[in-house]
């Protein structure tokens, strides 16, 4: 599978072979070398300074996570023994992980997290994309007002709605159900706004031609606009998926049944019942983090462009 199909530039050919990829890598290396000369000049001093600073920052930023990761592979007694050593006396062990998978709800929470994040992603786009299309392409009364309300909604902190939302779920009898976790997360005005901006940039000549041929708006939307918007849809999907996976407050409030919890909600929960067993806690938090790390490895460039687009247009 090539990740190149999802870049922001739609004109890139779909499949990239191995040789094309290594050529791209070489091109990238040349580009970096050129930038080094431009930004730093030819001297050695600035290069050494920049590299030193990068290494120091990287060590600082990697240490917390690596320390946690190493501890999660230690026996409990080694995790809290002094003096601190990276390499434990009794060697590294998988026992924290195997006992977590054997005795807790970790698999179930992993399933819930995946299901909920996937459904939130699909439904958020299914709600936002047609609405953004209508705001971008169709004339109707109240369009300007709808746009203003959408932009204003971006500023409302979702955390403020938890009290009334929870009451709403109580009165709808939805507490401790998947719909209760998922539905309020579909409100993502920033996504509507971003998609509308992207649709606005698609040349109108394309849809005028289609409309001349008698195509309906739905046909125009599904066969012209959506295929051209694949890169922005991918960026938006990644953004929504990550937020949904990491969402803590709402799933935490609306689920009390362990069978419905997501990973981030469930994991601090087992810890309370286990007492303070640090190595075991850290193993659980590594399990919660692993899917995001894998997603990052697979979609690094898409995530980078996703943050750049969502963040900058986030105004």
């Amino acid at each position: 599978m090539s990740t190149d199909t999802l870049t922001i530039r739609p004109d890139r050919p779909g499949r990239t072979g191995r040789s094309a990829r290594s050529a791209r890598r070489a091109e990238l290396a040349r580009e970096h070398a050129r930038r080094r000369d431009l930004v730093l000049g030819g001297g050695r001093g600035p290069r050494i300074a920049a590299l030193t600073a990068l290494v120091v920052l990287t060590v600082l930023w990697l240490t917390p996570m690596l320390w946690g990761l190493a501890t999660s592979f230690k026996a409990e007694s080694d995790a809290i023994s002094l003096p601190l050593t990276l390499f434990p006396e009794s060697g590294f062990t998988l026992e924290q992980y195997s006992s977590l998978f054997a005795a807790s709800n970790v698999q179930m929470w992993m399933f819930n997290s995946l299901l909920i994040a996937a459904l939130v992603t699909v439904f958020t786009l299914a709600v936002a994309a047609p609405a953004a299309f209508a705001m971008s392409r169709m004339a109707f009364r109240g369009r300007a007002a709808l746009m203003i309300v959408t932009v204003a909604a971006i500023v409302v902190p979702p955390q403020l709605l938890i009290v009334p939302l929870f009451q709403q779920m109580v009165s709808l009898n939805l507490v401790d159900t998947y719909p209760a976790v998922i539905l309020p997360q579909l409100v993502a005005p920033i996504i509507v706004f971003i998609l509308k901006r992207f649709f606005d940039a698609v040349p109108k000549e394309l849809d005028e031609a289609a409309r001349m041929d008698g195509a309906s708006y739905w046909k125009l939307f599904t066969s012209v606009i959506l295929p051209l918007s694949r890169p922005i849809l991918a960026a938006a999907a990644i953004f929504v998926f990550i937020s949904a996976w990491n969402n803590y407050l709402w799933p935490f409030i609306v689920t009390t049944d362990p069978a419905l919890m997501t990973l981030p909600v469930g994991i601090p929960n087992i810890l309370d019942s286990y007492g303070t067993f640090y190595a075991s806690q850290l193993a659980a938090s590594m399990i919660a983090a692993a899917p995001m790390i894998i997603v990052f490895m697979l979609f690094q460039r898409q995530i980078v462009s996703s943050v750049a687009t969502t963040g900058i247009t986030g105004q």
Binding site: L57, P164, L186, P268
Partner: protein, 318 residues
């Protein structure tokens, strides 16, 4: 999901032909005939979801803030502005608002400065690009439960890594999460580590759009690395810095998750943010009406801050 027919309205990535649509009506077209081709049919799911899960809670919360509603839905008697007057006279509202402002300041400054430094360094094109990006941005993708647990372990008094390092240098260990003068700062430090990657990427994207000819001109003038940084790179980043600061202030004001998990607002109320107080009042104090009133006061503050920021940015452009 790339079925050749367009059967679902919003499947991203349907591999449909992007040229003019075929005149021959396929099965998909027949399906579309049944969906009215009006703006309302495009907007209906959006209007429904936003009405139910944004506007209804906003309005019912506003109503609730004028009542004495409790968690079980009991009460609900209209009490006028009582909740608001009580909130304005509640010392804990002011204390937690102060904590929120302090947290916003002490996170925003490093989250902008460190992100800028990281982006400028990575932008120099030094080898190892993949590693730099991974280590600076990765924490942003971690669930808050992971971040809280890893840092709680680093902050443990006796065998925590931080205190061990401090003691190795002959200094006294800190009560990172137990000392009421330190706890908020510790959570702020964790937050900087966790979220700096987002701002880093915003800066990196902005750096990549600086035109080469500016550097070439500086090189012709004999500018060294520092001069290029100060006279070419930094001035070009003014616009994005405004954006980053705006986003960061609004994000920091909403702090809840990491405080809730790491300190629970303690010791005492020393690290309690306003949102945490709203949660406490509503869900542990069972006073939904009062909680809603504090929520609306907070929303008013957020809107004022957003409006001020908007005014500053538009004035800057004019």
């Amino acid at each position: 999901m790339s079925a050749p027919t367009d059967t679902t309205p919003a499947t991203p990535g349907t591999r449909a032909d992007s040229r003019a649509p075929q005149p021959r009506p396929g099965p998909a077209l027949r399906l579309w005939r049944r969906v009215p081709d009006s703006p309302l049919s495009f907007l209906l799911p959006f209007l429904l979801v936003y009405a139910l899960f944004l506007f209804w809670p906003l309005l019912s919360g506003l109503w609730m803030s004028f009542t004495d509603t409790a968690l079980n839905g009991a009460g609900g008697t209209f009490v006028g502005p009582d909740n608001y007057t009580e909130a304005l006279g509640d010392p804990l509202v002011w204390k937690t608002l102060g904590n929120t402002v302090l947290f916003t300041v002490v996170t925003t400054v490093p989250l902008v400065v460190v992100a800028l430094a990281m982006a400028v360094l990575v932008h120099t094109g030094m080898p190892g690009q993949w590693l730099w990006r991974l280590s600076f941005f990765m924490p942003f993708l971690l669930p808050v439960a992971t971040v809280a647990l890893v840092w709680q372990f680093l902050y443990v008094d006796d065998f925590g890594l931080f205190n061990q390092v401090l003691r190795a240098f002959g200094m006294e260990g800190l009560g990172w999460l137990n000392d009421d003068g330190v706890a908020l700062w510790s959570v702020a430090l964790t937050t900087v580590w966790w979220t700096v990657g987002f701002n880093f990427l915003l800066y990196l994207a902005a750096l990549q759009s600086i035109p080469d000819h500016l550097y070439e001109a500086a090189a012709l003038d004999g500018a060294g690395a520092w001069a290029r940084l100060w006279y070419v790179t930094v001035p070009q980043l003014r616009g994005i810095t405004v954006v980053v600061v705006l986003l960061q202030v609004l994000a920091s004001m909403k702090v809840f998750d990491q405080i809730y998990l790491m300190t629970g607002g303690g010791p005492g109320d020393s690290s309690r943010s306003l949102l945490l107080y709203i949660y406490d009042v509503g869900f542990t104090g069972y006073r939904f009406g009062f909680g809603a009133a504090v929520s609306y006061l907070f929303l008013a503050i957020v809107l004022v801050v957003a409006a001020v920021q908007l005014w500053i940015t538009t004035r800057r452009k004019a």
